[in-house]
């Protein structure tokens, strides 16, 4: 891992189009600004870790559960629901 020291207001540039700026320093945390193209996702790391853990829990669920799944509420049938389901792609980013 590359470790750099920055003062407030200073930046780090990654690749051609990602910039990280130190915005503010507080007692026990740092405010960081991130400038990146729309198609580069930026996540708090703990979210990615939480998704990984939830996947493991979901796999364990599938291994164990049969009775509880029977209690799964049945979705309400909606007229034309087939077509609605396919319109979740609201837009594509370039």
């Amino acid at each position: 891992m590359l470790v750099l020291t920055r003062k407030v207001g200073e930046s780090i540039v990654i690749g051609d189009d990602i910039e990280i700026t130190l915005v503010r320093i507080e007692a026990d945390q740092v405010r960081v600004g991130i400038s990146a193209p729309k198609n580069v996702p930026v996540y708090r790391k703990e979210l990615i870790e939480e998704v990984g853990r939830e996947n493991i829990r979901a796999a364990e669920t599938a291994r164990r559960e049969s009775q509880t799944l029977g209690k799964l509420p049945k979705p309400e049938p909606r007229p034309g629901s087939e077509k609605e389901n396919m319109e979740e792609e609201k837009g594509r980013k370039g």
Partner: protein, 151 residues
Amino acid sequence: MRVKTQRFGELEVDPETLLLMPEGLVGMSEAKRFCLLEESPDRGYKWLQLIDEPGLAFVAVNPYDFYPDYGFEVDGKDADLLGLERPEDAAVLVLLTVGPGGSEITANLVAPVLVCTKTRKAKQVILQDERYSTKHLLVGGALETTGSGVG
């Protein structure tokens, strides 16, 4: 093709219905080849079964059946990865977890599995939307969260 499953025994699966996740699942990058099984048509859920691991499967639902207001934008890079060209070719699954005690069934709405039905490729995407977390209580209709998952 024949697929061994822990839950259902050995099954004959139409190779045309297989799903390929080139990047695997989040935290399980080797989990790539799946088949989608329906336990019975009137059940609301499906099984996402890993072909190469009989013991690894997931319970999934179509989120729109339970959360009519659910939605997200598909990133161009993800669409390219999946060969997704038209909205009509997109389908979404969310993975379910049963909480301790077996009382709560929750859906992971922040990390849905986006499927291109034409190419049979899929990816688990992580949404940047503060409304969604890894645990949404599954009740018909309203978008609910237990608040215990990371959003």
